[in-house]
Subunit: 228 residues, 2 copies
Amino acid sequence: MAQIDQFSPTVRTTLKRLPDRGSYDREQVYRILDEGFVCHVGFVVDGQPFVIPTAYGRVGDKLYIHGSAASRAMRSLVGGIPVCVTVTLVDGLVLARSAFHHSINYRSVVILGAATMVEAAEEKMVALRAFTEHVVPGRWDDVREPNEQELKGTTVLALPLVEVSAKVRTGPPKDDEEDMAIPAWAGELPLRIAAGEPIADPHLASGVKPPDYVTRYSRQKQTANGLK
Amino acid sequence: MAQIDQFSPTVRTTLKRLPDRGSYDREQVYRILDEGFVCHVGFVVDGQPFVIPTAYGRVGDKLYIHGSAASRAMRSLVGGIPVCVTVTLVDGLVLARSAFHHSINYRSVVILGAATMVEAAEEKMVALRAFTEHVVPGRWDDVREPNEQELKGTTVLALPLVEVSAKVRTGPPKDDEEDMAIPAWAGELPLRIAAGEPIADPHLASGVKPPDYVTRYSRQKQTANGLK
């Protein structure tokens, strides 16, 4: 890879506490972004922060989000105001012998910057394809592509992956030495996103079976399958 | 219940688009907050929004978050600056016949306001108990309670549930009439948080079995079991 394999820390992305949980490793950031599919977008209107959940896609060092051209969030964001996009994956609960040392194993990425509106129809289509394939890999080829009217009604924003940091906690609890004799069970409870049985649309023609990318859906394997 | 069963919408919490997805129903807001356990806290420093994931607890109409007294986020928030706390539950993927109508079934709550620091040791302890019990119901009685030093080193913030809205999408895709003949499978793929096999702490005494609240862990049943 020609790219430098680390993002450069800035004053705003340098972890002051627990710096061993911080990471600027490009591959790790990509892996977290590719496994997740819902981000939380933070922006400020009249001094009030808003945090809105939305799906996203990634192509190289660009994160794409989109929404109705009519939405309040999109109308605020197209102005190039400062944003923070955070993606969090919860990997498990950490149960310690003291209430104080309970924790959560997680991986998160925080991206600071300003989003720019994607204007060119061609890049817009690339972004929407990335977006669909990010959430359901394999889906794009089976469905009708956006038409001109839909493209016009959709605002696509690109956020460059420049000021980026990851934070990761893994492993067992860290109890104090004097608590080790407490008889409580201690350890980790792994959590993951699991897919249930697909529910066919009521209007679906009989005999149409869900494809493999639905019946075998798993976020954990997105790193291998995802757009890189 | 003596309380009014609806939060009052404000200009900032009124949904302008797709208003049928909005809700101010108190019980629904409680249910979403009780099923989730990680929120995204948005706040502004020098004009830059930050969005930080953290666990939370709820007692009545207060949401509690906590963190190290030394953390940047906590030090910013204790000043009573405006915050936005968002909790998002992803219930499933919505696969339509057109790329445009793909969606996500979700429930989210957005809380606007200012957090206040909980100073009294008694309320601080109530909050920490709520916090532990929110993430792992039944855990508090099995572990060592926070001692004075731990209480001092923990900043607990309370955010009143006043300016609150929920947003919910459920059900099948909404395809355009002219797309109904497209042969793609369409419908919903339900997603949920699943717990794996508990991993014992390497220092755990042999023979200590994980309790029921670990082996039968499920977020979906928190509504019934949660603190109300």
